[in-house]
Symmetry: C2
């Protein structure tokens, strides 16, 4: 997605050798008009995936998943939570996810009420780095007896291996920008 | 908002005397078509508020704030975070917020890059209970030298006093449904 690379060049920031900061339009401050373009891109990419539900993890995936959903016939969005609120009384699926940027391991859960064997889930997230979030969501879908029909990331950092891990599982992956390396503050992309 | 009361009656659940569970369409599973109606309602309510930015707190406020933003001329959305990721290197405003449903006290932060004295912020959130989240966001805006021009909640639980605390500060508040009490599994609303 050319517009995304331009946006990253203009408003993003490379930090060290492995971090791309997009807090200015995606991860802290959200540019909702640009978010719309991202939603449209996922809508085109997954039109024929046969998904009946979009899954993501709180917090930074939520806005992106909702934007994508509106371009996929208003699919329901379910976001995995990092803690069970006291309103979640019906039981849940649970898995562990390592956050690369926060350097934490956290449990994430989805209520049994909103994920089941009938589900054909499309996983959407902001970043695909080591793949921990996506693989965690895939684990939750497996536990529920459902199927993952696709995975979409806004920004994939190919050199961290998450993309390969997802493709190994036979899940079609679409990343709107694929970064091959970050060197001296410059971001290199895989050619389309 | 009549459609919201109907949605709560159909898909929501009263738990005990003070909790309304709307995980089925707003807080865990998101009904994106209905979210659109919520965004529209906030758009009408705050058309003339003069906001230049929408503020919310991760995670459950994000989708709602983005929906509202699209009906307010694509205002940027900034969501307060509950932990500083290692990409946040420019300093931040910080305050403490008590979560009613999770029974926790957590620090929430907004980067100094995305909040400043020029800001006229509209605060949007899913629930208004004791008002902790909204007052926390108001504190952050004050720290930044900005101004809060309005606050919107999808569901206000009037009996928990948050609405009164916000109005005391002179901030115009719009809640799409105002619950006066919850008794024996039945939800009572303030008449419009």
């Amino acid at each position: 997605m050319e517009a995304l690379k331009e946006k990253i060049a203009k408003e993003g920031q490379a930090i060290g050798g492995d971090i791309v900061k997009v807090d200015g339009f995606l991860n802290h401050r959200i540019d909702v008009a640009f978010l719309e373009q991202i939603g449209q891109a996922f809508g085109s990419a997954f039109r024929d995936a046969g998904a009946n539900k979009i899954l993501t993890i709180e917090a930074s995936g939520i806005a992106i998943a909702c934007a994508a959903a509106r371009y996929l016939g208003d699919l329901p969005v379910v976001y995995a939570k990092k803690a069970a609120p006291n309103t979640m009384v019906d039981g849940f699926y649970e898995t562990e996810v390592t956050s690369f940027t926060k350097r934490t391991v956290s449990k994430v859960i989805i209520s049994r009420s909103y994920l089941g064997p009938e589900d054909r889930a499309l996983i959407i997230d902001d970043f695909l780095a080591h793949g921990e979030s996506a693989l965690g969501l895939m684990d939750l879908v497996e536990q529920a007896g459902g199927r993952v029909v696709g995975a979409g990331a806004v920004i994939e950092k190919e050199f961290q291996g998450g993309g390969a891990r997802i493709r190994e599982k036979g899940v079609p992956l679409v990343s709107l920008a694929v970064i091959t390396s970050i060197q001296d503050g410059k971001i290199y992309y895989r050619e389309d």
